[in-house]
């Protein structure tokens, strides 16, 4: 409850022009927004653009934002929807999906790499619901609302996605 009140105060401050308050919102929500975009797109540059664009959309709509609503889910909804759009567009262009275009680091994390590779083999719509459910901690009902899907579809995508991940891992 305290965290929610604190966030509402930051949103109010940002609406009144406080750069410090907006920076705090950025710090609080960038990591998950960026991570969610990356896990759906599997492209670090695209994830950066998508998450950045979501914050810019937030700035454009800040004056109209209802402070009673939580900021994070609203931002994350923009991120995930844009990430799905981006992934579909890339698939249409016929590009090979890349797990990562950057060189490997010196300290690879087998668990993380395996998970990324397994996620990359899922359809983007399945990836998105898994990321929303388990990274962003949205309920199936909230996911259904955000993606404009029946709740049953969300549940079935979750189930099929998890089954496939389990087989892959």
């Amino acid at each position: 409850m305290g965290a929610a009140r604190h966030e509402r105060a930051r949103v109010r401050g940002a609406q009144q022009g406080s750069e410090a308050d907006f920076e705090e919102l950025f710090e609080a929500h960038w990591p998950r927004a960026y991570r969610a975009a990356y896990l759906v797109t599997h492209d670090a540059a695209a994830a950066e653009d998508i998450a950045q664009e979501a914050f810019l959309a937030a700035i454009r709509n800040l004056d109209r934002f209802d402070r009673r609503r939580p900021f994070g889910p609203w931002l994350h909804r923009i991120v995930v929807n844009r990430a799905i759009d981006w992934t579909r567009a890339r698939r249409l262009r016929g590009e090979v999906e890349l797990v990562d275009v950057h060189p490997a680091t010196n300290d690879p994390d087998p668990l993380g790499d395996d998970l990324v590779a397994a996620l990359a083999r899922l359809p983007p719509e399945h990836r998105a619901v898994i990321v929303m459910r388990y990274l962003l901690e949205l309920t199936p009902g909230e996911i259904a609302d955000d993606l404009g899907l029946p709740r049953g579809t969300v549940n079935s995508r979750l189930r099929r996605g998890l089954d496939k991940l389990e087989r892959e891992l």
Binding site: Y34, A44, E48, L56, I59, H102, T105, D109, G112
Partner: protein, 379 residues
């Protein structure tokens, strides 16, 4: 699952966060806190005497086209970043960080630390120059070959599916090399001016220094024609139409479009204000140019080149200096550089729309507005 998703390592996460923070906080600082109804783009009638070229007259339709004038520098309601291009194709961009490819969806890739570059004939490759190197690159930045040469600049690529040539200028003069990096020759010793290939074959090169334009068949070694531009000034720009039927030579005081045999369907000048840049549409039927005056810069088009009368239409005006202009491959849009606003302004060629993207220096890691080297390949 949650913990595992949170532990997935993302390449260069910290750098991404810092870049985004800078862009986002800059956008926040510049936002308008009080929403107000407004028209976008804001259209303001302006009474500015036509200071265009002497031969260009303002048509009645020209009077009705879009004019944009703002007290402050920059397009109001510009996107705070480049999210997408308004027309199909890819941009090749150079900044302090190097040369970039920007896809239509706005995604961008840094090819490497090069100063300037241009597309191969079908946009599959890029030829790039750095201080002492010419390089042919894949679109993902992989290097096909390099050539060590002193003071390389102005690389230009032409040819067909099966055979290509690259022209460039270095300290020895104007040189030509095959598309695979072999057979490098010095074509014009001591040359320092503008160059442009006629698309396709035979390999025909236009080059200009002082006030003379020369068109030459490179393989036959034969000069096809020469022409002097008047008033005498070195062309700042040469550009062929896509089919090679016409070539534009722009100087700071004049515009001249030649047919491939040297005829001149457009010969306009001198004007009152300096011509900063110009571009010939792929069809060869239209020209866009930028004039910079003491207080006002304008983007003009001559939408239909005719030998007898040419009507210039002002598409967009603003304070402070405009920079380059380029056509989209489809010919429906133009992109205009506005360095003082740190913006690229996308203007519909029919004057019915303006979009702008700002904060470009930051996005392309540059101290100044990134330069558009080419807009390629609608398909």
């Amino acid at each position: 699952m949650k913990r595992e998703l949170e532990e997935v390592r993302i390449p260069r996460e910290t750098e991404a966060r810092e870049r985004a923070r800078a862009v986002v906080l800059s956008a926040f600082a510049e936002r308008e806190t009080v929403p107000r109804p407004s028209h976008w783009p804001r259209i303001a009638a302006i009474a500015v005497a036509l200071a265009a070229l002497g031969a260009a007259t303002l048509s009645s339709s020209g009077r009705a086209v879009l004019h944009e004038l703002r007290e402050a520098v920059g397009v109001k309601r510009a996107q705070p970043a480049l999210f997408s291009l308004p027309a199909p194709g890819r941009l090749l961009v150079s900044s302090d960080a190097g040369v970039w490819v920007v896809e239509q969806d706005g995604s961008k890739r840094l090819l490497g630390d090069y100063r300037e570059a241009s597309w191969s004939p079908f946009g599959r490759f890029v030829v790039a120059a750095r201080e002492n190197e010419l390089a042919a690159l894949e679109r993902d930045g992989d290097v096909r070959w390099t050539l060590a040469r002193p003071g390389v600049r102005s690389p230009r690529w032409t040819g067909t599916d099966v055979d290509t040539r690259i022209a460039y200028v270095d300290r020895t003069g104007l040189r030509v090399v095959a598309g695979d990096g072999t057979g490098d020759i010095l074509l014009v010793p001591g040359f320092r001016g503008a160059i442009a290939w006629k698309p396709g074959r035979p390999f025909t090169l236009a080059y200009a220094s002082s006030s003379r334009v020369t068109v030459r068949d490179v393989e036959a070694g034969q000069v096809l024609w020469r022409s002097r531009v008047r008033p005498a000034a070195a062309p700042i720009q040469l550009e062929w139409s896509r089919g090679g039927a016409r070539v534009l030579a722009a100087t700071p005081r004049s515009l001249r479009v030649y047919d491939s045999d040297g005829g001149t369907p457009l010969d306009a000048g001198p004007g009152m204000d300096r011509i900063e840049s110009a571009a010939l549409a792929a069809t060869g039927q239209a020209v866009a140019f930028v004039q910079v005056g003491d207080r006002l810069s304008s983007l003009w088009t001559i939408p239909r080149i005719r030998p007898d009368a040419n009507a210039a239409r002002r598409l967009f005006s603003g304070p402070a200096g405009f920079g380059q202009v380029s056509w989209a491959p489809s010919g429906e849009w133009l992109v205009l550089s506005w360095p003082d606003a740190d913006q690229w302004v996308f203007v519909r060629a029919d004057g019915r729309g303006v979009r702008a993207a700002g904060n470009l220096s930051e996005q392309f890691r540059s101290r100044s507005l990134p330069r558009i080297e080419g807009w390629c390949c609608a398909r």
